[in-house]
Symmetry: C2
Subunit: 328 residues, 2 copies
Protein backbone atom coordinates (compact mmCIF):
# COMPACT_ATOMS: atom_id res chain seq x y z
CA UNK A 1 0.00 0.00 0.00
CA UNK A 2 0.99 3.66 -0.38
CA UNK A 3 2.79 5.32 2.55
CA UNK A 4 0.10 7.93 2.93
CA UNK A 5 -3.66 7.96 2.56
CA UNK A 6 -4.79 9.91 -0.51
CA UNK A 7 -8.18 11.14 -1.64
CA UNK A 8 -8.27 8.21 -4.06
CA UNK A 9 -8.43 5.88 -1.04
CA UNK A 10 -11.97 7.17 -0.54
CA UNK A 11 -13.26 7.41 -4.11
CA UNK A 12 -14.68 3.94 -4.57
CA UNK A 13 -11.89 2.93 -6.98
CA UNK A 14 -8.87 0.65 -7.00
CA UNK A 15 -6.95 2.15 -4.07
CA UNK A 16 -10.05 2.16 -1.90
CA UNK A 17 -10.70 -1.49 -2.70
CA UNK A 18 -7.12 -2.37 -1.79
CA UNK A 19 -7.41 -0.51 1.50
CA UNK A 20 -10.78 -2.01 2.37
CA UNK A 21 -9.64 -5.51 1.46
CA UNK A 22 -6.63 -5.04 3.68
CA UNK A 23 -8.80 -3.93 6.62
CA UNK A 24 -11.45 -6.58 5.92
CA UNK A 25 -8.77 -9.25 6.06
CA UNK A 26 -7.71 -7.96 9.46
CA UNK A 27 -11.24 -8.08 10.88
CA UNK A 28 -12.23 -11.14 8.87
CA UNK A 29 -15.35 -13.02 9.95
CA UNK A 30 -18.13 -14.85 8.16
CA UNK A 31 -20.48 -11.86 8.04
CA UNK A 32 -17.94 -9.21 7.05
CA UNK A 33 -16.43 -11.43 4.38
CA UNK A 34 -19.68 -11.23 2.38
CA UNK A 35 -18.62 -7.63 1.59
CA UNK A 36 -22.17 -6.44 0.96
CA UNK A 37 -23.43 -2.87 1.41
CA UNK A 38 -25.10 -4.11 4.57
CA UNK A 39 -24.13 -6.97 6.89
CA UNK A 40 -26.60 -9.74 7.66
CA UNK A 41 -26.96 -11.57 10.95
CA UNK A 42 -29.58 -13.67 12.70
CA UNK A 43 -31.29 -13.10 16.05
CA UNK A 44 -33.80 -15.76 17.07
CA UNK A 45 -35.72 -16.48 13.86
CA UNK A 46 -35.16 -13.02 12.42
CA UNK A 47 -32.63 -12.02 9.79
CA UNK A 48 -31.33 -8.51 10.36
CA UNK A 49 -29.43 -6.15 8.03
CA UNK A 50 -26.96 -3.65 9.54
CA UNK A 51 -25.06 -0.94 7.70
CA UNK A 52 -23.01 2.20 8.38
CA UNK A 53 -21.93 5.23 6.35
CA UNK A 54 -20.29 8.55 7.12
CA UNK A 55 -21.27 11.61 5.12
CA UNK A 56 -18.73 14.36 4.47
CA UNK A 57 -20.31 15.99 1.41
CA UNK A 58 -19.21 19.52 0.53
CA UNK A 59 -21.17 21.80 0.23
CA UNK A 60 -23.75 20.88 2.87
CA UNK A 61 -26.63 22.03 0.65
CA UNK A 62 -26.84 21.50 -3.11
CA UNK A 63 -29.61 21.32 -5.73
CA UNK A 64 -31.94 18.45 -4.94
CA UNK A 65 -30.56 17.50 -1.52
CA UNK A 66 -28.35 18.22 1.49
CA UNK A 67 -26.11 16.29 3.88
CA UNK A 68 -29.02 15.44 6.20
CA UNK A 69 -31.31 13.92 3.60
CA UNK A 70 -28.30 12.16 2.05
CA UNK A 71 -27.32 10.66 5.41
CA UNK A 72 -30.78 9.17 5.91
CA UNK A 73 -31.46 7.95 2.37
CA UNK A 74 -27.90 6.72 1.82
CA UNK A 75 -28.14 4.34 4.76
CA UNK A 76 -31.78 3.44 4.09
CA UNK A 77 -30.72 2.44 0.57
CA UNK A 78 -27.79 0.32 1.77
CA UNK A 79 -30.22 -1.60 3.97
CA UNK A 80 -32.73 -1.91 1.11
CA UNK A 81 -29.98 -3.36 -1.13
CA UNK A 82 -29.93 -6.43 1.15
CA UNK A 83 -33.62 -6.94 0.38
CA UNK A 84 -34.35 -5.68 3.90
CA UNK A 85 -36.98 -3.32 5.21
CA UNK A 86 -35.17 -0.42 6.96
CA UNK A 87 -36.63 0.39 10.39
CA UNK A 88 -34.16 2.24 12.58
CA UNK A 89 -31.19 4.53 12.19
CA UNK A 90 -28.58 6.03 14.48
CA UNK A 91 -27.26 9.55 14.08
CA UNK A 92 -23.68 10.54 14.92
CA UNK A 93 -22.82 14.22 14.44
CA UNK A 94 -19.29 15.65 14.42
CA UNK A 95 -19.61 19.42 14.43
CA UNK A 96 -16.98 22.13 13.96
CA UNK A 97 -16.94 24.78 16.67
CA UNK A 98 -18.51 27.94 15.29
CA UNK A 99 -21.06 26.25 13.02
CA UNK A 100 -24.18 28.38 12.95
CA UNK A 101 -26.92 26.77 14.99
CA UNK A 102 -29.44 27.64 12.27
CA UNK A 103 -27.51 25.42 9.80
CA UNK A 104 -27.54 22.54 12.26
CA UNK A 105 -31.28 22.94 12.75
CA UNK A 106 -31.92 23.10 9.01
CA UNK A 107 -29.98 19.86 8.56
CA UNK A 108 -31.89 18.32 11.47
CA UNK A 109 -35.19 19.23 9.83
CA UNK A 110 -34.01 17.63 6.63
CA UNK A 111 -33.09 14.46 8.54
CA UNK A 112 -36.48 14.45 10.20
CA UNK A 113 -38.35 14.81 6.91
CA UNK A 114 -36.25 12.19 5.16
CA UNK A 115 -36.77 9.72 8.01
CA UNK A 116 -40.52 10.31 7.78
CA UNK A 117 -40.53 9.76 4.02
CA UNK A 118 -38.54 6.51 4.28
CA UNK A 119 -40.56 5.42 7.34
CA UNK A 120 -37.54 4.92 9.58
CA UNK A 121 -36.99 6.18 13.12
CA UNK A 122 -33.88 7.82 14.55
CA UNK A 123 -33.55 5.89 17.82
CA UNK A 124 -30.07 6.70 19.12
CA UNK A 125 -27.47 9.40 18.55
CA UNK A 126 -24.29 11.16 19.56
CA UNK A 127 -22.92 14.70 19.25
CA UNK A 128 -19.23 15.61 19.23
CA UNK A 129 -17.86 19.13 18.79
CA UNK A 130 -14.25 19.72 17.65
CA UNK A 131 -12.26 22.96 17.58
CA UNK A 132 -12.50 25.32 14.64
CA UNK A 133 -10.39 23.90 11.81
CA UNK A 134 -10.49 20.30 13.11
CA UNK A 135 -13.36 19.33 10.79
CA UNK A 136 -15.18 20.98 7.90
CA UNK A 137 -18.50 22.29 9.32
CA UNK A 138 -20.29 18.98 9.98
CA UNK A 139 -19.86 15.28 9.29
CA UNK A 140 -22.70 12.83 9.83
CA UNK A 141 -22.62 9.11 10.44
CA UNK A 142 -25.77 7.04 10.19
CA UNK A 143 -26.02 3.34 10.87
CA UNK A 144 -29.15 1.49 9.89
CA UNK A 145 -31.06 -1.60 10.90
CA UNK A 146 -33.58 -3.47 8.79
CA UNK A 147 -35.47 -6.73 8.76
CA UNK A 148 -34.94 -9.22 5.96
CA UNK A 149 -38.18 -10.92 5.09
CA UNK A 150 -37.48 -11.56 1.42
CA UNK A 151 -37.26 -15.29 0.81
CA UNK A 152 -34.40 -15.45 -1.72
CA UNK A 153 -30.82 -14.71 -0.82
CA UNK A 154 -29.69 -11.32 -2.05
CA UNK A 155 -25.92 -11.29 -1.90
CA UNK A 156 -23.01 -9.81 -3.78
CA UNK A 157 -22.77 -12.65 -6.34
CA UNK A 158 -24.35 -12.46 -9.78
CA UNK A 159 -25.12 -15.58 -11.88
CA UNK A 160 -24.18 -16.27 -15.49
CA UNK A 161 -26.96 -15.09 -17.80
CA UNK A 162 -28.35 -12.49 -15.39
CA UNK A 163 -29.70 -9.36 -17.02
CA UNK A 164 -28.61 -6.05 -15.50
CA UNK A 165 -31.29 -3.40 -15.01
CA UNK A 166 -30.99 0.18 -13.76
CA UNK A 167 -33.97 2.20 -12.54
CA UNK A 168 -33.22 5.47 -14.33
CA UNK A 169 -30.75 8.02 -15.73
CA UNK A 170 -27.33 8.23 -14.11
CA UNK A 171 -24.65 10.67 -12.87
CA UNK A 172 -26.88 13.42 -11.53
CA UNK A 173 -25.90 13.46 -7.87
CA UNK A 174 -22.15 13.80 -8.41
CA UNK A 175 -22.54 16.56 -10.99
CA UNK A 176 -25.04 18.49 -8.86
CA UNK A 177 -22.60 18.50 -5.92
CA UNK A 178 -19.65 19.42 -8.13
CA UNK A 179 -21.56 22.27 -9.76
CA UNK A 180 -22.64 23.64 -6.39
CA UNK A 181 -19.17 23.36 -4.86
CA UNK A 182 -16.97 24.63 -7.63
CA UNK A 183 -19.36 27.38 -8.71
CA UNK A 184 -18.53 26.42 -12.26
CA UNK A 185 -20.95 28.97 -13.57
CA UNK A 186 -22.75 26.50 -15.78
CA UNK A 187 -26.38 27.38 -16.10
CA UNK A 188 -27.46 23.93 -15.23
CA UNK A 189 -30.65 22.33 -14.05
CA UNK A 190 -28.90 19.24 -12.81
CA UNK A 191 -30.26 18.18 -9.44
CA UNK A 192 -29.12 15.38 -7.19
CA UNK A 193 -31.26 12.27 -7.66
CA UNK A 194 -31.04 11.64 -3.87
CA UNK A 195 -34.11 9.61 -2.87
CA UNK A 196 -35.04 6.65 -0.68
CA UNK A 197 -35.24 3.42 -2.67
CA UNK A 198 -36.72 1.14 -0.03
CA UNK A 199 -40.27 1.12 -1.39
CA UNK A 200 -39.07 0.71 -5.00
CA UNK A 201 -36.95 -2.23 -3.90
CA UNK A 202 -39.88 -3.77 -2.04
CA UNK A 203 -41.98 -3.60 -5.22
CA UNK A 204 -39.12 -4.95 -7.32
CA UNK A 205 -38.54 -7.92 -5.06
CA UNK A 206 -42.18 -8.92 -5.42
CA UNK A 207 -41.74 -9.20 -9.19
CA UNK A 208 -39.27 -12.09 -9.11
CA UNK A 209 -37.85 -14.72 -6.82
CA UNK A 210 -34.67 -14.80 -8.88
CA UNK A 211 -33.09 -11.44 -8.10
CA UNK A 212 -29.48 -12.20 -7.24
CA UNK A 213 -27.85 -8.82 -6.62
CA UNK A 214 -29.14 -5.35 -5.74
CA UNK A 215 -26.68 -2.46 -5.54
CA UNK A 216 -26.87 1.31 -5.50
CA UNK A 217 -24.12 2.85 -7.64
CA UNK A 218 -22.99 5.68 -5.34
CA UNK A 219 -19.28 6.53 -5.00
CA UNK A 220 -17.43 5.59 -8.19
CA UNK A 221 -20.69 5.27 -10.11
CA UNK A 222 -22.13 2.41 -12.16
CA UNK A 223 -18.74 1.35 -13.53
CA UNK A 224 -17.29 0.85 -10.05
CA UNK A 225 -20.21 -1.20 -8.78
CA UNK A 226 -20.16 -3.40 -11.88
CA UNK A 227 -16.45 -3.97 -11.31
CA UNK A 228 -17.07 -5.03 -7.73
CA UNK A 229 -19.80 -7.45 -8.76
CA UNK A 230 -17.79 -8.92 -11.67
CA UNK A 231 -14.84 -9.36 -9.34
CA UNK A 232 -16.77 -10.87 -6.45
CA UNK A 233 -18.84 -13.15 -8.73
CA UNK A 234 -15.79 -14.22 -10.76
CA UNK A 235 -17.81 -13.60 -13.95
CA UNK A 236 -17.71 -11.11 -16.81
CA UNK A 237 -20.10 -8.22 -17.36
CA UNK A 238 -21.09 -6.67 -20.68
CA UNK A 239 -22.96 -3.40 -20.90
CA UNK A 240 -24.12 -1.46 -23.91
CA UNK A 241 -23.36 2.28 -23.89
CA UNK A 242 -26.40 3.17 -25.95
CA UNK A 243 -28.74 1.46 -23.48
CA UNK A 244 -27.46 3.40 -20.46
CA UNK A 245 -29.89 6.18 -19.62
CA UNK A 246 -28.15 9.59 -19.42
CA UNK A 247 -30.13 12.84 -19.64
CA UNK A 248 -28.92 15.15 -22.47
CA UNK A 249 -27.92 17.95 -20.06
CA UNK A 250 -25.89 15.47 -18.03
CA UNK A 251 -24.19 14.15 -21.16
CA UNK A 252 -23.34 17.72 -22.25
CA UNK A 253 -21.99 18.65 -18.81
CA UNK A 254 -19.81 15.52 -18.79
CA UNK A 255 -18.57 16.24 -22.32
CA UNK A 256 -17.47 19.75 -21.41
CA UNK A 257 -15.68 18.66 -18.21
CA UNK A 258 -14.25 15.46 -19.64
CA UNK A 259 -16.08 13.18 -17.20
CA UNK A 260 -17.48 9.74 -17.94
CA UNK A 261 -21.02 9.50 -16.47
CA UNK A 262 -20.41 5.82 -15.71
CA UNK A 263 -18.00 6.86 -12.93
CA UNK A 264 -20.17 9.62 -11.41
CA UNK A 265 -22.04 9.01 -8.14
CA UNK A 266 -25.80 8.45 -7.95
CA UNK A 267 -27.92 8.59 -4.81
CA UNK A 268 -31.28 7.41 -6.12
CA UNK A 269 -30.39 4.63 -8.52
CA UNK A 270 -30.16 0.91 -8.09
CA UNK A 271 -28.89 -1.94 -10.23
CA UNK A 272 -30.71 -5.24 -10.23
CA UNK A 273 -29.21 -8.52 -11.45
CA UNK A 274 -31.98 -10.95 -12.29
CA UNK A 275 -32.55 -14.22 -14.16
CA UNK A 276 -33.15 -13.44 -17.85
CA UNK A 277 -36.72 -14.82 -17.93
CA UNK A 278 -37.84 -12.39 -15.25
CA UNK A 279 -36.03 -9.30 -16.57
CA UNK A 280 -38.97 -7.62 -18.31
CA UNK A 281 -41.27 -8.07 -15.35
CA UNK A 282 -38.62 -6.75 -12.96
CA UNK A 283 -37.85 -3.79 -15.22
CA UNK A 284 -41.53 -2.80 -15.14
CA UNK A 285 -41.58 -3.09 -11.34
CA UNK A 286 -38.48 -0.89 -11.06
CA UNK A 287 -40.30 2.08 -12.60
CA UNK A 288 -41.00 3.76 -15.90
CA UNK A 289 -37.39 4.95 -16.40
CA UNK A 290 -35.83 1.53 -15.78
CA UNK A 291 -33.67 0.07 -18.54
CA UNK A 292 -31.89 -3.22 -19.18
CA UNK A 293 -28.28 -2.17 -19.76
CA UNK A 294 -26.33 -5.41 -20.03
CA UNK A 295 -25.75 -8.97 -18.93
CA UNK A 296 -23.50 -11.32 -17.00
CA UNK A 297 -21.28 -13.68 -19.03
CA UNK A 298 -18.91 -16.51 -18.32
CA UNK A 299 -16.11 -15.09 -20.49
CA UNK A 300 -13.63 -12.35 -19.41
CA UNK A 301 -14.21 -13.04 -15.71
CA UNK A 302 -13.72 -10.05 -13.39
CA UNK A 303 -13.80 -7.65 -16.34
CA UNK A 304 -16.48 -5.20 -17.38
CA UNK A 305 -16.78 -4.71 -21.14
CA UNK A 306 -18.55 -1.77 -22.75
CA UNK A 307 -20.09 -1.94 -26.22
CA UNK A 308 -19.45 1.63 -27.30
CA UNK A 309 -21.89 3.73 -29.32
CA UNK A 310 -19.45 3.58 -32.22
CA UNK A 311 -19.58 -0.19 -32.19
CA UNK A 312 -16.43 -1.83 -30.81
CA UNK A 313 -16.17 -3.37 -27.35
CA UNK A 314 -13.70 -1.90 -24.89
CA UNK A 315 -12.69 -2.77 -21.36
CA UNK A 316 -14.16 -0.40 -18.81
CA UNK A 317 -11.20 0.21 -16.48
CA UNK A 318 -11.36 0.40 -12.71
CA UNK A 319 -11.44 3.94 -11.29
CA UNK A 320 -7.97 5.22 -10.42
CA UNK A 321 -7.43 8.82 -9.36
CA UNK A 322 -10.22 10.77 -7.75
CA UNK A 323 -12.53 12.57 -10.15
CA UNK A 324 -14.77 14.06 -7.49
CA UNK A 325 -13.92 14.01 -3.80
CA UNK A 326 -16.50 14.52 -1.03
CA UNK A 327 -19.65 13.92 -3.03
CA UNK A 328 -21.24 11.88 -0.24
Amino acid sequence: MENKITLAHGNGGRLMHELIEHLALKFSNKILDEMADAAEFTVGNSKIAFSTDSYVVNPLFFPGSDIGKLAVFGTVNDIAMKGAKPLYISLGLIIEEGLETSILLEISDSIKNAAKKAKVQVITGDVKVVEKGACDKIFINTSGIGIISYASKIDAKAREGDEIIINGPIAEHGLAVLNAREKLGFISNIKSDCINLNFDVERTLKASRHIHVLRDPTRGGVATVLHEIAHFSNLGIEIDEKLIPVRPRVARFCDILGFDPLYIANEGKFLCFVRRNDACRVRSAMGKDARIIGKVVRSHAKEVHLKTILGPMRILPELESDQLPRIC
Copy 2:
Protein backbone atom coordinates in the same frame (compact mmCIF):
# COMPACT_ATOMS: atom_id res chain seq x y z
CA MET B 1 -30.02 28.28 21.96
CA GLU B 2 -26.76 30.06 21.17
CA ASN B 3 -26.26 31.34 17.61
CA LYS B 4 -23.16 29.25 17.11
CA ILE B 5 -22.08 25.81 18.23
CA THR B 6 -19.32 25.94 20.85
CA LEU B 7 -17.03 23.30 22.30
CA ALA B 8 -19.29 23.26 25.36
CA HIS B 9 -22.06 21.83 23.15
CA GLY B 10 -20.00 18.63 23.05
CA ASN B 11 -18.70 18.40 26.63
CA GLY B 12 -21.53 16.46 28.27
CA GLY B 13 -22.73 19.51 30.24
CA ARG B 14 -25.67 21.90 30.23
CA LEU B 15 -25.34 23.25 26.68
CA MET B 16 -24.97 19.76 25.27
CA HIS B 17 -28.07 18.61 27.10
CA GLU B 18 -30.02 21.57 25.75
CA LEU B 19 -28.87 20.80 22.21
CA ILE B 20 -29.58 17.09 22.49
CA GLU B 21 -32.99 17.69 24.04
CA HIS B 22 -33.81 20.04 21.19
CA LEU B 23 -32.77 17.44 18.59
CA ALA B 24 -34.43 14.59 20.48
CA LEU B 25 -37.69 16.52 20.51
CA LYS B 26 -37.46 16.88 16.74
CA PHE B 27 -36.94 13.17 16.16
CA SER B 28 -39.14 12.14 19.08
CA ASN B 29 -40.32 8.53 19.18
CA LYS B 30 -40.94 6.01 21.92
CA ILE B 31 -37.49 4.44 21.73
CA LEU B 32 -35.43 7.64 21.44
CA ASP B 33 -37.38 9.30 24.25
CA GLU B 34 -35.93 6.82 26.73
CA MET B 35 -32.66 8.76 26.32
CA ALA B 36 -30.48 5.82 27.32
CA ASP B 37 -26.87 5.24 26.23
CA ALA B 38 -28.27 2.58 23.92
CA ALA B 39 -31.69 2.29 22.28
CA GLU B 40 -33.80 -0.82 22.81
CA PHE B 41 -36.11 -2.39 20.25
CA THR B 42 -37.75 -5.74 19.70
CA VAL B 43 -37.47 -8.12 16.74
CA GLY B 44 -39.52 -11.30 16.97
CA ASN B 45 -39.03 -12.41 20.58
CA SER B 46 -35.63 -10.79 20.92
CA LYS B 47 -34.81 -7.51 22.61
CA ILE B 48 -31.95 -5.72 20.90
CA ALA B 49 -29.76 -2.83 22.08
CA PHE B 50 -28.36 -0.39 19.50
CA SER B 51 -25.93 2.44 20.13
CA THR B 52 -23.63 4.84 18.24
CA ASP B 53 -20.64 7.01 19.13
CA SER B 54 -18.11 9.03 17.20
CA TYR B 55 -14.55 9.26 18.49
CA VAL B 56 -12.49 12.39 17.85
CA VAL B 57 -9.91 12.05 20.63
CA ASN B 58 -6.68 14.04 20.31
CA PRO B 59 -3.96 12.74 20.40
CA LEU B 60 -4.69 9.42 18.67
CA PHE B 61 -2.40 7.53 21.05
CA PHE B 62 -2.07 8.20 24.78
CA PRO B 63 -0.98 6.25 27.87
CA GLY B 64 -3.23 3.25 28.35
CA SER B 65 -5.18 3.47 25.11
CA ASP B 66 -5.70 4.91 21.62
CA ILE B 67 -8.61 5.99 19.42
CA GLY B 68 -9.12 2.47 18.05
CA LYS B 69 -9.41 0.68 21.38
CA LEU B 70 -11.55 3.56 22.69
CA ALA B 71 -13.92 3.30 19.71
CA VAL B 72 -14.51 -0.41 20.35
CA PHE B 73 -14.74 -0.37 24.15
CA GLY B 74 -16.75 2.89 24.25
CA THR B 75 -19.52 1.39 22.16
CA VAL B 76 -19.28 -2.05 23.77
CA ASN B 77 -19.78 -0.32 27.13
CA ASP B 78 -22.79 1.69 25.96
CA ILE B 79 -24.42 -1.58 24.90
CA ALA B 80 -23.47 -3.24 28.17
CA MET B 81 -25.09 -0.36 30.11
CA LYS B 82 -28.47 -1.55 28.75
CA GLY B 83 -27.82 -4.92 30.36
CA ALA B 84 -27.17 -6.28 26.87
CA LYS B 85 -24.52 -8.63 25.55
CA PRO B 86 -22.63 -6.79 22.78
CA LEU B 87 -22.17 -8.90 19.64
CA TYR B 88 -21.53 -6.77 16.57
CA ILE B 89 -20.07 -3.39 15.72
CA SER B 90 -19.81 -1.23 12.63
CA LEU B 91 -16.76 0.84 11.82
CA GLY B 92 -16.94 4.19 10.01
CA LEU B 93 -13.59 5.89 9.33
CA ILE B 94 -13.18 9.52 8.25
CA ILE B 95 -9.53 9.98 7.34
CA GLU B 96 -7.58 13.15 6.52
CA GLU B 97 -5.65 13.01 3.27
CA GLY B 98 -1.97 12.55 4.04
CA LEU B 99 -2.42 10.38 7.16
CA GLU B 100 0.42 7.91 7.30
CA THR B 101 -0.81 4.46 6.36
CA SER B 102 1.24 2.97 9.20
CA ILE B 103 -0.83 4.98 11.72
CA LEU B 104 -4.07 3.72 10.18
CA LEU B 105 -2.80 0.15 10.37
CA GLU B 106 -1.70 0.56 13.99
CA ILE B 107 -5.18 1.84 14.87
CA SER B 108 -6.74 -1.03 12.94
CA ASP B 109 -4.66 -3.53 14.91
CA SER B 110 -5.82 -1.91 18.10
CA ILE B 111 -9.47 -2.19 16.95
CA LYS B 112 -8.92 -5.83 16.08
CA ASN B 113 -7.40 -6.65 19.48
CA ALA B 114 -10.07 -4.74 21.38
CA ALA B 115 -12.86 -6.49 19.46
CA LYS B 116 -11.27 -9.83 20.28
CA LYS B 117 -11.01 -8.97 23.97
CA ALA B 118 -14.65 -7.84 24.16
CA LYS B 119 -15.78 -10.77 21.98
CA VAL B 120 -17.52 -8.61 19.39
CA GLN B 121 -17.20 -8.77 15.60
CA VAL B 122 -16.74 -5.87 13.19
CA ILE B 123 -19.32 -6.82 10.55
CA THR B 124 -19.73 -3.72 8.39
CA GLY B 125 -17.76 -0.56 7.68
CA ASP B 126 -17.14 2.53 5.62
CA VAL B 127 -14.10 4.62 4.70
CA LYS B 128 -14.22 8.29 3.72
CA VAL B 129 -11.18 10.43 2.92
CA VAL B 130 -11.34 14.25 3.10
CA GLU B 131 -8.79 16.82 1.92
CA LYS B 132 -5.88 17.85 4.10
CA GLY B 133 -7.19 20.28 6.72
CA ALA B 134 -10.83 19.12 6.47
CA CYS B 135 -10.51 16.82 9.48
CA ASP B 136 -7.88 16.19 12.17
CA LYS B 137 -6.08 12.96 11.15
CA ILE B 138 -8.85 10.42 11.77
CA PHE B 139 -12.33 10.26 13.31
CA ILE B 140 -13.99 6.91 14.02
CA ASN B 141 -17.65 6.08 14.41
CA THR B 142 -18.72 2.76 15.83
CA SER B 143 -22.29 1.58 16.21
CA GLY B 144 -23.00 -1.49 18.26
CA ILE B 145 -25.63 -4.19 18.53
CA GLY B 146 -26.29 -6.40 21.52
CA ILE B 147 -28.87 -8.83 22.80
CA ILE B 148 -30.77 -8.11 25.98
CA SER B 149 -31.37 -11.29 27.91
CA TYR B 150 -31.39 -9.80 31.41
CA ALA B 151 -34.84 -10.18 32.92
CA SER B 152 -35.20 -6.86 34.76
CA LYS B 153 -35.63 -3.59 32.99
CA ILE B 154 -32.48 -1.48 33.01
CA ASP B 155 -33.48 2.05 32.10
CA ALA B 156 -32.47 5.59 32.89
CA LYS B 157 -34.68 5.89 35.99
CA ALA B 158 -33.39 5.36 39.51
CA ARG B 159 -35.68 4.55 42.46
CA GLU B 160 -35.81 6.25 45.85
CA GLY B 161 -33.51 4.48 48.29
CA ASP B 162 -31.20 3.06 45.63
CA GLU B 163 -27.56 2.87 46.61
CA ILE B 164 -25.03 4.17 44.09
CA ILE B 165 -21.93 2.06 43.47
CA ILE B 166 -18.89 2.75 41.28
CA ASN B 167 -16.46 0.04 40.21
CA GLY B 168 -13.21 1.88 40.89
CA PRO B 169 -11.15 5.09 41.03
CA ILE B 170 -12.19 7.93 38.75
CA ALA B 171 -10.85 10.63 36.40
CA GLU B 172 -7.93 8.74 34.86
CA HIS B 173 -8.93 8.72 31.19
CA GLY B 174 -9.47 12.47 30.85
CA LEU B 175 -6.25 13.33 32.62
CA ALA B 176 -4.19 10.82 30.62
CA VAL B 177 -5.44 12.33 27.35
CA LEU B 178 -4.89 15.88 28.57
CA ASN B 179 -1.38 15.10 29.77
CA ALA B 180 -0.47 13.47 26.44
CA ARG B 181 -1.98 16.28 24.37
CA GLU B 182 -0.78 19.35 26.20
CA LYS B 183 2.66 17.96 26.99
CA LEU B 184 2.26 19.45 30.43
CA GLY B 185 5.57 18.04 31.47
CA PHE B 186 4.18 16.41 34.58
CA ILE B 187 6.02 13.27 35.43
CA SER B 188 2.87 11.30 35.73
CA ASN B 189 1.97 7.66 35.65
CA ILE B 190 -1.67 8.35 34.94
CA LYS B 191 -3.00 5.97 32.32
CA SER B 192 -6.41 5.89 30.71
CA ASP B 193 -8.68 3.36 32.40
CA CYS B 194 -10.11 2.42 28.97
CA ILE B 195 -11.43 -1.13 29.19
CA ASN B 196 -14.42 -3.20 28.11
CA LEU B 197 -17.00 -3.53 30.86
CA ASN B 198 -19.30 -6.09 29.27
CA PHE B 199 -18.11 -9.08 31.29
CA ASP B 200 -18.07 -7.08 34.55
CA VAL B 201 -21.63 -5.97 33.86
CA GLU B 202 -22.69 -9.54 33.11
CA ARG B 203 -21.34 -10.65 36.47
CA THR B 204 -22.92 -7.68 38.24
CA LEU B 205 -26.35 -8.33 36.77
CA LYS B 206 -26.25 -11.87 38.11
CA ALA B 207 -25.85 -10.52 41.65
CA SER B 208 -29.25 -8.80 41.83
CA ARG B 209 -32.59 -8.61 40.07
CA HIS B 210 -33.05 -5.08 41.38
CA ILE B 211 -30.46 -3.11 39.45
CA HIS B 212 -32.30 -0.08 38.11
CA VAL B 213 -29.66 1.97 36.28
CA LEU B 214 -26.24 1.25 34.81
CA ARG B 215 -24.22 4.11 33.35
CA ASP B 216 -20.61 4.68 32.35
CA PRO B 217 -19.44 8.16 33.40
CA THR B 218 -17.54 9.18 30.27
CA ARG B 219 -17.77 12.78 28.96
CA GLY B 220 -18.50 15.16 31.81
CA GLY B 221 -17.54 12.54 34.39
CA VAL B 222 -19.44 11.13 37.38
CA ALA B 223 -21.06 14.47 38.24
CA THR B 224 -22.62 14.82 34.80
CA VAL B 225 -24.05 11.30 34.74
CA LEU B 226 -25.48 11.73 38.23
CA HIS B 227 -27.12 14.96 37.08
CA GLU B 228 -28.70 13.20 34.13
CA ILE B 229 -30.05 10.41 36.29
CA ALA B 230 -31.37 12.76 39.00
CA HIS B 231 -33.03 14.85 36.31
CA PHE B 232 -34.55 11.96 34.39
CA SER B 233 -35.69 10.14 37.56
CA ASN B 234 -37.06 13.32 39.14
CA LEU B 235 -35.29 12.39 42.38
CA GLY B 236 -32.39 13.75 44.41
CA ILE B 237 -28.93 12.24 44.66
CA GLU B 238 -26.52 12.50 47.60
CA ILE B 239 -22.91 11.46 47.33
CA ASP B 240 -20.14 11.56 49.90
CA GLU B 241 -16.83 13.02 48.74
CA LYS B 242 -14.73 10.89 51.08
CA LEU B 243 -16.27 7.69 49.66
CA ILE B 244 -15.40 8.50 46.05
CA PRO B 245 -12.32 6.55 45.00
CA VAL B 246 -9.60 8.82 43.57
CA ARG B 247 -5.98 7.68 43.33
CA PRO B 248 -3.53 10.03 45.13
CA ARG B 249 -1.64 10.92 41.93
CA VAL B 250 -4.93 11.79 40.24
CA ALA B 251 -5.98 13.95 43.19
CA ARG B 252 -2.62 15.77 43.10
CA PHE B 253 -2.80 16.33 39.33
CA CYS B 254 -6.33 17.74 39.70
CA ASP B 255 -5.25 19.98 42.59
CA ILE B 256 -2.41 21.49 40.58
CA LEU B 257 -4.56 22.11 37.49
CA GLY B 258 -7.67 23.18 39.37
CA PHE B 259 -9.85 20.35 38.05
CA ASP B 260 -12.57 18.53 39.93
CA PRO B 261 -12.16 14.78 39.34
CA LEU B 262 -15.95 14.38 39.47
CA TYR B 263 -16.17 16.13 36.08
CA ILE B 264 -13.32 14.26 34.37
CA ALA B 265 -14.07 11.50 31.83
CA ASN B 266 -13.65 7.81 32.56
CA GLU B 267 -13.62 4.99 30.00
CA GLY B 268 -13.57 1.94 32.24
CA LYS B 269 -15.92 2.85 35.05
CA PHE B 270 -19.59 2.19 35.60
CA LEU B 271 -22.17 3.35 38.08
CA CYS B 272 -24.80 0.96 39.33
CA PHE B 273 -28.05 2.04 41.05
CA VAL B 274 -29.43 -0.86 43.04
CA ARG B 275 -31.97 -1.57 45.78
CA ARG B 276 -30.33 -1.00 49.18
CA ASN B 277 -30.68 -4.63 50.34
CA ASP B 278 -28.64 -5.90 47.39
CA ALA B 279 -25.93 -3.22 47.48
CA CYS B 280 -23.22 -5.19 49.27
CA ARG B 281 -23.66 -8.24 47.06
CA VAL B 282 -23.59 -6.09 43.92
CA ARG B 283 -20.54 -4.16 45.13
CA SER B 284 -18.65 -7.45 45.53
CA ALA B 285 -19.69 -8.55 42.05
CA MET B 286 -18.49 -5.24 40.57
CA GLY B 287 -14.91 -5.95 41.60
CA LYS B 288 -12.44 -5.39 44.39
CA ASP B 289 -12.17 -1.63 43.82
CA ALA B 290 -15.93 -1.03 43.84
CA ARG B 291 -17.29 1.45 46.39
CA ILE B 292 -20.74 2.62 47.50
CA ILE B 293 -20.58 6.41 47.03
CA GLY B 294 -24.10 7.64 47.73
CA LYS B 295 -27.84 7.16 47.50
CA VAL B 296 -31.04 8.30 45.84
CA VAL B 297 -33.42 10.44 47.91
CA ARG B 298 -36.88 11.91 47.49
CA SER B 299 -35.82 15.41 48.60
CA HIS B 300 -34.10 18.04 46.38
CA ALA B 301 -35.38 16.37 43.17
CA LYS B 302 -33.13 16.82 40.09
CA GLU B 303 -30.25 18.03 42.26
CA VAL B 304 -27.02 16.28 43.16
CA HIS B 305 -25.70 17.09 46.63
CA LEU B 306 -22.14 16.42 47.73
CA LYS B 307 -21.18 15.85 51.35
CA THR B 308 -17.75 17.46 51.32
CA ILE B 309 -14.73 16.12 53.16
CA LEU B 310 -14.91 19.15 55.44
CA GLY B 311 -18.46 18.25 56.42
CA PRO B 312 -21.09 20.52 54.91
CA MET B 313 -23.32 19.55 51.99
CA ARG B 314 -23.10 21.53 48.78
CA ILE B 315 -24.90 21.39 45.48
CA LEU B 316 -22.81 19.82 42.74
CA PRO B 317 -23.50 22.11 39.78
CA GLU B 318 -24.06 21.01 36.21
CA LEU B 319 -20.99 21.28 33.95
CA GLU B 320 -20.89 24.58 32.09
CA SER B 321 -17.83 25.54 30.04
CA ASP B 322 -15.60 22.90 28.56
CA GLN B 323 -12.80 21.73 30.83
CA LEU B 324 -11.36 19.23 28.39
CA PRO B 325 -12.40 19.03 24.75
CA ARG B 326 -11.79 15.99 22.56
CA ILE B 327 -11.11 13.43 25.24
CA CYS B 328 -13.20 10.77 23.46
